[in-house]
């Protein structure tokens, strides 16, 4: 005869943990033993639980010391699953890195370098009473090209930014900072500069070769479009004193050890009285196998008092 106490008056919510059923274990394994014992044969608390023999054709991986008791087949299945997930993760990681390296980081670094250069130019615009950092006495007159004396920059300290380079062919916002030395970490890979001046080459404004290096890809890629320069394109180098105007002349491809491109007379086409601008970058893109060299010839010097050259007024933000 049933009484009202037979039925539970409330039920606890069912908690399934883990929520994935492990089907490969035979029934009975891992579940509490439900048989009754007499007092004498009751197993002690420390006794190992009884594991029934595996079904025919199966075997156990029995590492209960670290909490593992599964059939061999399930062990292999899950190991392969974890290995697959690890490999997939590694693949995604590599793709993410590549996307970051040649895309995202390059783009962000370019934006930052443009902005830093623009603010540097802004500083030069504001009149100060401080003496110019340029040695006007060292400048030589350049009668053939220009009536103005061309000032020569004093050798800046390593990693010091001392000029900006403005190339209209590279886009309407292209302004990058030139810092002294071609130190990879402090100058070429740096968000504050990006373009480096070979310390061994001539100073800006000096007769000879003013040589620069910049990345073709990644880290803002200051010289990423170097192969798009057309003969006669103007390249402006701005300092506190004014603008050095160069005209692009030709491209050369060399091996990485070809340091002659930094010489005051890198090519026979150059006359000993010429001021030359040499830009080096890597070639082909994303490779370090060769170097691409762009030569430009000095055209004129525009002092700051003469105002921003008309071609770049919109680029340097001077209004």
């Amino acid at each position: 005869m049933g009484s009202r106490f037979d039925k539970p008056r409330f039920s606890l919510p069912r908690i399934e943990w883990p929520n994935r059923k492990r089907r490969s274990l035979p029934p009975g394994v891992g579940e509490p033993q439900r048989r009754t014992y007499t007092l004498r044969e009751a197993p002690s608390r420390d006794a190992a639980p009884v594991v029934p023999p595996p079904p025919k054709g199966r075997s156990y991986i029995d590492w209960r010391g670290i909490g593992i008791l599964v059939t061999t087949r399930e062990f292999i299945d899950r190991s392969l699953g974890i290995a697959g997930e690890l490999l997939t993760t590694a693949g995604v990681f590599v793709l993410l890195f590549l996307g970051w390296h040649v895309g995202f980081n390059d783009y962000i670094a370019g934006l930052i370098q443009d902005r830093k250069s623009a603010s540097l130019a802004q500083e030069w615009e504001t009149p100060t009473t401080a003496p110019l950092e340029f040695d006007r006495a060292a400048g030589t007159s350049d009668g053939a090209n220009n009536q103005t004396k061309t000032p020569v920059t004093k050798s800046p300290r390593a990693a010091d930014p001392f000029a900006t380079i403005i190339i209209p062919r590279f886009g309407p916002h292209y302004v990058r900072t030139i810092a002294e030395s071609v130190d990879v970490e402090k100058v070429l890979n740096n968000l504050a500069s990006g373009v480096g001046h070979y310390s061994g080459s001539n100073q800006l404004g000096e007769i000879g070769n003013f040589a620069l290096a910049g990345h073709r890809t990644t880290y803002g890629a200051p010289f990423g479009d170097i192969d798009r320069l057309r003969v006669g394109d103007r390249i402006y180098i701005e300092t506190k004193a004014g603008w050095y105007v160069y005209r692009f002349r030709n491209i050369e491809f060399v091996y990485p050890d070809e340091t002659t491109v930094l010489n005051p007379l890198p090519q026979t086409l150059v006359a000993a009285k010429d001021r030359l601008l040499t830009m080096t970058s890597c070639h082909p893109k994303l490779s370090a196998a060769e170097r691409i060299i762009a030569y430009s010839l000095f055209e004129s010097f525009v002092p700051r008092t003469a105002g921003t050259p008309s071609e770049i007024t919109s680029m340097v933000g001077a209004d």
Partner: protein, 52 residues
């Protein structure tokens, strides 16, 4: 591995989704801020200078 991670995350499903998203963003942030720059500086040769 990821299934185990999903099981370990506490809360109902929509909370788990939020937690997983937060974890992914944290991992991405650590990669972009520290791991990727280190890899690029250590293993990637991107020389643009002439010299030895």
């Amino acid at each position: 591995m990821y299934a185990a991670l999903w099981r370990v995350l506490p809360g109902p499903r929509w909370v788990k989704v939020l937690e997983a998203t937060a974890l992914i963003l944290i991992v991405l942030g650590v990669c972009v801020e520290w791991v990727f720059p280190w890899i690029a500086a250590t293993f990637i040769q991107s020389e643009s200078t002439v010299g030895q």
